[in-house]
Symmetry: C2
Subunit: 157 residues, 2 copies
């Protein structure tokens, strides 16, 4: 897949069914399902997820949650940023650049990005232009935060 | 291993070398190593980790980070609690009750516990007496928080 198309995912029953294929499936997904079932959110509402489809199947996804500047403890000046979670490519579609395509898409949104580099994924994040923060136990609480800084943005420390 | 012995882990070069066998190894571990190397912390300092040894090798670990009551957003009344991360049993020692032994140890410390039920581990946490919180996107930010409540403690919501 030379130029995978990344698209925002709408919250509907099809999307939530596709999410079940991913190993990270928990309270956030269940909560979306319940909100949809009880009409708290409308069908095809916006979600914080973006994904790549192949043959009408969701094969890779990323969650980009916009954190308000008032909660920013990472960047200087303090500003809105994206917290990136649940970057996951289904096993049979790995090593084709889909994860990179999702992260490149996120960077084009123009805000700083913070992620938690789990399970020894540091080399991937470095390759994508991310850098580790200086670990602060009270703030970072066991995470391995890696950040991407757009021009003009610095780390807070 | 019918009665695995759980013990607090001290921060020293041997412990930090053993940590490298675990799939969750990131900035918190690297930061401990750097602090040890630069004498910011002493050899054999306390760590937030507890573990199980077999034949002098660390085969399972858990991190229990004590969060101060002033940061508590989960429990009522607000109080100190343990945030549980990095529960991990090395692959060849799984399905022998070592994970349960670590969590049982944590519960005996007497404070509420909060964890993030990752990778579809919900059934394990339920079996250990944990319950899901009501998902709050701003507070929980993509996590699947499960909590264990000692007698007299309730969920905040």
């Amino acid at each position: 897949m030379p130029h995978p198309k990344v698209e925002p995912l709408r919250i509907n029953y099809k999307t939530l069914e596709e999410f079940q294929k991913f190993s990270e499936y928990g309270l956030p997904e269940l909560s979306m399902l319940e909100d949809l079932q009880s009409n708290i959110i409308e069908n095809n509402s916006n979600s914080p997820f973006y994904g790549i489809y192949q043959d009408d199947q969701l094969i890779a996804r990323i969650s980009l949650y916009r954190v308000d500047a008032k909660y920013d403890v990472y960047f200087s000046p303090a500003q809105d940023y994206y917290e990136c979670w649940k970057l996951e490519v289904l096993p049979q579609y790995r090593n084709q650049g889909l994860g990179s395509a999702l992260v490149s898409y996120a960077k084009k949104l123009g805000l700083p990005i913070k992620t938690n580099a789990r399970r020894r994924s540091d080399p991937f994040w470095r390759q994508m232009g991310f850098q580790p923060v200086r670990y602060n136990p009270v703030r970072d609480r066991g995470e391995s935060p890696y950040v991407w800084l757009p021009p003009g943005v610095q780390l807070k420390d």
